[in-house]
Symmetry: C6
Subunit: 76 residues, 6 copies
């Protein structure tokens, strides 16, 4: 991917950190399936499926661990 989308893991607040974790999770999907069209077609498949939603929340949780550690849990 030539586009620059991730220059830092540091955020001002935990909520921005959580939203960065969401972005990281989505980019994992995008790198695996680069076609916007196919991803758009699949979105309802997990967005309206309980297991797909829980699985999505799990990927976000894993990425949020990384972002939180990078920010020393916003304790500084």
């Amino acid at each position: 991917m030539s586009e620059q989308w991730l220059t830092s893991l540091i955020t001002d607040t935990p909520q921005e950190g959580y939203e960065l974790a969401i972005k990281l999770s989505r980019m994992g999907v995008k790198y695996t399936q680069p076609s916007d069209e196919i991803r758009a077609k699949l979105r309802p498949e997990y967005g309206e499926d309980a297991n797909g939603l829980i699985a999505s929340s799990q990927v976000i949780a894993i990425n949020f661990q990384t972002v939180s550690a990078a920010n020393n849990y916003w304790k500084d």
Copy 2:
């Protein structure tokens, strides 16, 4: 999401930390599927399905790792 819902990972007690982990897990679902109506419709799908409940508990466990580390395991 313009609403502010996460200003700190610090909690007074482990139980409040666990409850924050639940909130983080639910927000992952909410960001992925913002429609209150669709999420309400899906709730019985995982709430009354053994695998869905175990998967939900797993996401909470991952987020609880983050919250626990942020609070230095409430040892201070």
Copy 3:
């Protein structure tokens, strides 16, 4: 949940820590599905299903990581 069920992550022994990890795993299920009746009905579904048992053991393993780190692996 108004009931107080988690006041500390510290335990005397690794085995008590493991049992606390089990409790944390079960509470994740209970918060997601608060009805005792529905949970009781679902118990055989995962308790007598190989995948459900492995998934349960996985959630316990994740929570045991947290409890073990909190106790500095019972090395002190």
Copy 4:
């Protein structure tokens, strides 16, 4: 469980640590389904199923992280 089965996470070698991780993984199953008879009946279900074997190896991997950290990766 009144039986004492886990008194320490410390092992002499990485291989013994791996074998302790296996024991931890099995105990997660045993606590969830205490009946020896039912567990024996389910064993072929995951032992002869590719997904069940991979899932079992994953639980062991998570517990091995814990045991490895407890032993400072056997570097001392």
Copy 5:
């Protein structure tokens, strides 16, 4: 595998680190199924399946934790 493909976990930027995490995830698949032909045949199976995409993003997230820690979260 005699080919040398991983000489360092250090990258200049978080984005390069994320892309290394993708490479690590793909190599896990390649070591398990070395046949280029079979892997090519399977690609549409997960690339056009919502669950496969989320699962792929999860493996990347786990590897990104490793790469991020190796780089001290690019904070130096």
Copy 6:
């Protein structure tokens, strides 16, 4: 298992560390299903199944976290 197969988590290079993570992942399968014959029969089941390959890569990723930490990410 009386055979000695794991004497150290330390490797010279990240790639050897990744290959050790693969070995750890396979041993988790082998301990769970010791029969060479049954494992050989199951191999095509996950090696030619997209979900099985992604799941295999995930177990490797978890074990690679452990091996990478043990080696201080090969930074010394």
